[in-house]
Symmetry: C2
Subunit: 261 residues, 2 copies
DNA sequence: CGATCAATTGAGTGTGTTCAATGTCAGTGG
DNA sequence: CCACTGACATTGAACACACTCAATTGATCG
């Protein structure tokens, strides 16, 4: 498995402002040995569709922390599947207090919200070093009859995302601060997220607290208090450094259950 | 233009509980004379795609107030285009306080959120007498190469809806009660809604106040106060009976502008 | 090690909720 | 036509949850 890494304008990234579209390109791994093969097949529904998509993507793009995968007003060209890392989707708002629309992790498809537009309406930003497969929309249309299957699959994914957002909308309205965080952590458990040394109860939250708060519809101060409360309830066993938390999954789960009761 | 109306289990509807799938079927009007032709062409993007869809829909369904167009757990079979009337989309929630996901009016496509599932996750309920064109999903796939165009169009519509909900999420979080109502009324102005006798500043809100409040993420009491405030500010000129309001569009528009400033 | 930004903590405030009472409308039957 | 009924809608007063703002602590990086 040869790996050729080609530099393409790499620059030291600072936190703010985020740099734009400076990334490396690398020949994609053989998909047969690709660590994300399984979740990609799941994403596309079946082996066959996956193979069609696979044949479209010859490269992986590597983004460093805070780099843009795409940026508001860029022309819409592609969808992206995350091979590793994490991405936040934010909408720019006049006044600087951007709206965080969602977080995406390994195996997730990013860019669906932009299919209906000529230009991206969101920024997709790498939260840490992130590898993605780029799926060019142009190529999608050139697949003959299998294109239909793929479009239908994308329909399905879009539709599910729609329900997901609506659910999120409902939750962040009706749940108290503490329960919102509980829900969030619970969802994270189902995601392919960095566990910092294989311990499954250890979570490295790649995003800033302010972004989590924004996503959950609360102030950073409120989130901070919620973290403390969950810790005092033993649902969070420990907090290391800034981003790593240790979770008691049993208690977490029972906490989430209680909410719906 | 012959109109054959066939009764199919019509029953006197009471407010609650809503009746299920009791509706009349009627031969569709000639699309050339169809009053909603224009907005259907707009919906599907171009004349050609519209014609393909048109050829799939031979009938119109007529629902009375409070009847279900579809119901949670029904198998997903169709999309619906509203010819006249209005529909609310609600998600059932344990505890009876259902979540209102959105309102749909003449020319709108209903059911997109369900494409990703085998069974509907929402109730689509007629707010008054409502005529719809039913588009069977089975038929959509049988259109050969034009099917791809249609699927892509549906992609586009889904994607836009995604952005729309996300915007709604943001608005209901960051706007004060009064501004949320302002926004809502402003959107209504762009919709094909009953104006009760051609006066363009007169609006008949077909939905219950409680549903508006729910949709906007507030309590009915808060909505009531907001209505009163808008009236005292002259944005609402008058309120007749229960559902009809008279709006000062200039003031409304300037009120909405101010919010984003 | 100091500079800088992120995160936390506390005290006071305010917007919208809650709860209960009152008012209004549409439908029904006398 | 009017009184009666039940659901919907409005109003008011007290409360609570999360916000605001400012100060403090804690991480991270040059």
């Amino acid at each position: 498995m040869k790996i050729t890494i080609k530099m393409k304008n790499v620059k030291k990234t600072r936190r703010h402002p985020a740099t734009t579209n400076l990334h490396m390109i690398k020949n994609r791994q053989e998909t047969d040995t690709c660590p994300t093969r399984e979740c990609c097949v799941e994403l596309w529904g079946d082996e066959e569709t996956f193979c069609h998509i696979r044949d479209l993507t010859k490269f992986e793009l590597i983004y460093k922390q805070d780099e843009f995968i795409y940026k508001t007003n860029d022309p819409v060209t592609s969808l992206y599947v995350i091979q590793s890392g994490a991405i936040k989707l934010e909408k720019e708002v006049e006044g600087g207090d951007n709206h965080i629309s969602g977080f995406y992790f390994t195996g997730d498809l990013v860019g669906l919200e932009s299919l209906g537009h000529k230009q991206y309406h969101y920024n997709a930003i790498a939260l840490n070093e992130t590898w993605v497969c780029e799926i060019r929309l142009q190529k999608l249309a050139t697949l003959g009859k299998s294109a239909l299957t793929i479009q239908q699959r994308i329909n399905t994914l879009l539709s599910r995302k729609l329900c997901e957002i609506d659910e999120h909308l409902y939750s962040t309205r009706h749940l108290h601060i503490e329960q919102r965080l509980l829900d969030f952590l619970n969802v994270l458990c189902t995601k392919n997220i960095d566990h910092a040394g294989d311990s499954p109860d250890r979570f490295v939250l790649p995003m800033a607290k302010a972004d989590i708060a924004n996503y959950l519809g609360m102030r950073p101060e409120s989130l901070s208090r919620a973290f403390r409360q969950l810790q005092s309830r033993g649902i969070i066993k420990d907090r290391l450094k800034r981003k790593t938390i240790v979770i008691n999954k049993q208690k977490l789960l029972s906490g989430v259950m209680k909410k719906s009761a």
